[in-house]
Every structure is written in structure tokens, then in C-alpha cells.
Amino acid sequence: MTRQIWIPAGAALAVLCFVAFQAAAHKDKHTPEQLKVFEEVFLEQVRIGDLLFHGDADTQKKMGVQLSRTGMSCAMCHPFASDVHPHEFPKFQEQIGKFSTLRDMINWCIEKPNEGVKLDSDSDAMKALEAYIYWSNRGSKLEPGTH
């Protein structure tokens, strides 16, 4: 019985998705204005991440996060997000003792050297930090799994 209900529901969802997808699909060529908007959405996150990475107090307050309790920001040890190696993740991370993502290691550095409060791994602050770190390291060759 339940199965019979589920199948049509699934189909209905699929139709709905199809309609929505059609509206947003890449049928038309992108306009320069559109591309600019996409870039601005990204760069806005880069800016927020940059401020968080550099310990900006207002941004942390606004987002309700505390990335450090030592007075040290990420950038004091990682100028231009150097030595963060986003292009080498995921990998086995010695400190954590297991296979880890960049987000795992961002949280580790928040908790360890910074003595801050770790972030929800899908939070806005985490995504912004990640955006800044990737942006600042763009051009580095992808080498996942490298220590």
C-alpha cells in the first residue's frame, strides 16, 4: 500500500523538478551581467572569509562565531592563507589521526592553536572561510592526498 503511494509521489516530484530545472537550465547563453552577478556572489563570500580569517571582530560578532580566544587570527600564522594547502585535501591528517577534509582541519586549527569554538561544518562562516582559502590559493595545482 505505502509503496503505491510513494511511487506516484516520487514521480510527481520528478515532474516538479523537471519544470523547475527547465526554468533555471542553461538554455540561453549567459549574459555578461549574469556572469558578473555569479562572480559577485562568490567574491562577497571571499571578502567575508578574508575578514574572518584575519580575525575581524565585527564580522565574527555578526555571524555569532568565535574563531579564537588567544588574540591570534588565522592570518597571523597563515599570511595570504599560505600553508593551509586547500589543494592537498582530502588526506590523512596526522593531527586528527584520520582521513580528513579541509573543513575538518579548519576546525582543528580553530580548536587547537586558536582555542576558539569550532564551527558547524556546513555553516555560513565555514563556507566563507573555505571560499577565501581557495580563492587565495587559486592557481595551486590540485594534489589531493599529499602531506
Binding site: L43, V46, D50, H54, T70, G71, M72, C77, Q95, P113
Partner: protein, 288 residues
């Protein structure tokens, strides 16, 4: 012989903060710690000492920011490479704390190429060395390196060529500098440069310009505050050359294997200057 009170752990204001930002309480604590060192002490300033009150407290406590004296046939010189930042704060109506915040951010863009010796001090250096025989040793202390390593982090002084013009008249010059927080060795002509470790925290090697003569230091454990920091034992040997031995809390200072060396993990790392601190005026698009 010459301690670098650039950074220290301070308990100023009740907080357990690492580093110092020119607050007189922090400078006092640095002086207090250095009382343990009983030999004659001379000091040169770092940017963290200076930009809260433009060096007033520092000069009152530690004296002139540049100086010279002779000891056992060596001319020692201390240079001020930090006080010549171009004024970015007045038109932005910054507080002294905000000014210091920007100056103390290694990868900040507002401070720009702040490290310099400046024309007045260059003239002084020229005079100070013109009376010194060409073949006798000269040892120079400065906060920033006296060569071009990585300008975006001020791992140089912007007038290093002028400084070098003066120094190259002498056959035996050793420059001992701070600011890089890492093992670093370089030669330009006859001048040798030796970088000091920090007592606060280490810095990664810059993505470009690490001198070829540098033996790379180890990669650091971020979970240990005492890792990658240390000091140096410097002495003049019988051939009138400066010997340097780095001392860290850990046993091995250097590493050559890619996985262990601080240069190894730079081999594939492209970095870019910041966006967020350059505002206003607003910047759109990407900055290379």
C-alpha cells in the same frame, strides 16, 4: 648579545595574549623579561613596537632607534627599518589602535611597502661607515631583511639597493635581521644575511624569492606553541666571520625531505593578495 623584543607572550590586561601591540604595559613586560640578560643590551624596534604612539614609549624606554658602537675591532650598527610607513591613517581618520592593527598584519595591504631605511638614516650610515677600514668587520642589526625577498610581506626594505651601495664598500659585512620568523640565509656580494627565528610563532616561507642559500627549516606542529620558535647563538670566529647556530625547542631545526621541510610544502603553492582590507574604495573583480 642583542635580544629582539619583537614578540613575547604577555599577560597584559589580564588576557593571555600572544604577541604585543606597542601598549606600554606590554613593552614594560618585555623590558622586565630582558632584565634577566645581564650583559650590555642594545635595541632596535620592530613595527609592533612603534605604531600605537609612533615610537614614543619605545624611545623613552629603549633609546634611539638607530645607533653604532665598536667592540673588539667590530663596528656594530643598529638600523631602524620600521618607522617609515607612508601615512595611510590620517585621511582615514584611524585610531592609533586601528593604525597598529593594519601595520601588525603581515599580509595587510594598507601599510604597503612600509619597510625602509630612509634618506636621513642612509646619510648617517654613509658617514658612520666612511671612517671604518674597508677590511674590518661590520655587523648590522635591523628588523627587516636588507634584500628583496618578498615585498608583499615586507620581507625586504624598499631602499635596500641604496643600503647595499653603502655596504658593498666593505669586505666583511654581516646583516642580522628579524621579521621573517624563519631560518633564512642569503648573500649579496660580500654581505651575508642571517634571519632570526621568532619567540612568538613561526612563519611559512614566502611563495617566491626564498634565497637559494637557505637551508630550510622543518614544518611546524600547529598544536604546540613552542614548536618552530627559538633563538640564535651568534659569535665571531677567529676568521672574523659571524657563526650562527639556531636553537629550537625541538631537536632538528632543518629538514630536506619534501614532506618535512618548510620549503617542500611551498613547491606547489600560488598565493594572492587580500581584497577585504583594501576597502574603501571598493574593489570589484579579482586582484592579482
Amino acid at each position: 648579545m642583542v635580544p629582539f623584543p619583537e614578540h613575547h607572550r604577555s599577560g597584559a590586561g589580564g588576557a593571555d595574549f600572544l604577541g604585543q601591540l606597542g601598549n606600554p604595559v606590554e613593552l614594560e613586560l618585555g623590558a622586565e623579561l630582558l632584565k634577566e640578560v645581564k650583559t650590555k643590551k642594545v635595541y632596535i624596534p620592530g613595527e609592533h613596537d612603534w605604531y600605537l604612539d609612533m615610537g614614543k614609549a619605545w624611545e623613552r624606554m629603549f633609546g634611539a632607534p638607530y645607533w653604532s658602537f665598536d667592540h673588539k675591532g667590530v663596528r656594530f650598527i643598529g638600523l631602524d627599518t620600521i618607522s617609515h610607513a607612508k601615512d595611510f591613517w590620517t585621511i582615514r581618520k584611524m585610531t592609533p589602535q586601528e593604525r597598529m592593527g593594519h601595520m601588525a598584519t603581515l599580509d595587510g595591504t594598507l601599510g604597503g611597502a612600509w619597510a625602509a631605511v630612509g634618506p636621513e638614516q642612509l646619510a648617517w650610515l654613509d658617514r658612520t661607515l666612511s671612517s671604518w677600514p674597508k677590511d674590518k668587520p661590520v655587523v648590522i642589526f635591523s628588523h627587516n631583511p636588507l634584500f628583496d625577498y618578498y615585498a608583499p610581506w615586507n620581507f625586504w626594505v624598499r631602499d635596500w639597493r641604496e643600503v647595499n651601495e653603502i655596504l658593498k664598500r666593505h669586505d666583511n659585512v654581516t646583516s642580522v635581521h628579524g621579521h621573517v620568523h624563519q631560518v633564512l640565509y642569503h648573500e649579496i656580494g660580500k654581505m651575508r644575511s642571517i634571519g632570526m627565528l621568532a619567540t612568538s610563532w613561526p612563519w611559512p616561507y614566502a611563495p617566491k624569492g626564498v634565497p637559494k642559500l637557505t637551508k630550510c627549516m622543518v614544518r611546524v606542529d600547529p598544536g604546540d606553541y613552542f614548536d618552530g620558535v627559538g633563538w640564535s647563538a651568534l659569535g665571531m670566529n677567529s676568521a672574523s666571520k659571524v657563526d650562527n647556530e639556531y636553537v629550537m625547542w625541538r631537536k632538528d631545526v632543518y629538514a630536506t625531505a619534501t614532506a618535512d621541510s618548510g620549503c617542500g610544502d611551498n613547491r606547489n603553492q600560488v598565493l594572492h593578495p587580500r581584497l577585504a582590507d583594501a576597502e574603501p574604495p571598493p574593489i570589484t573583480g579579482s586582484v592579482k
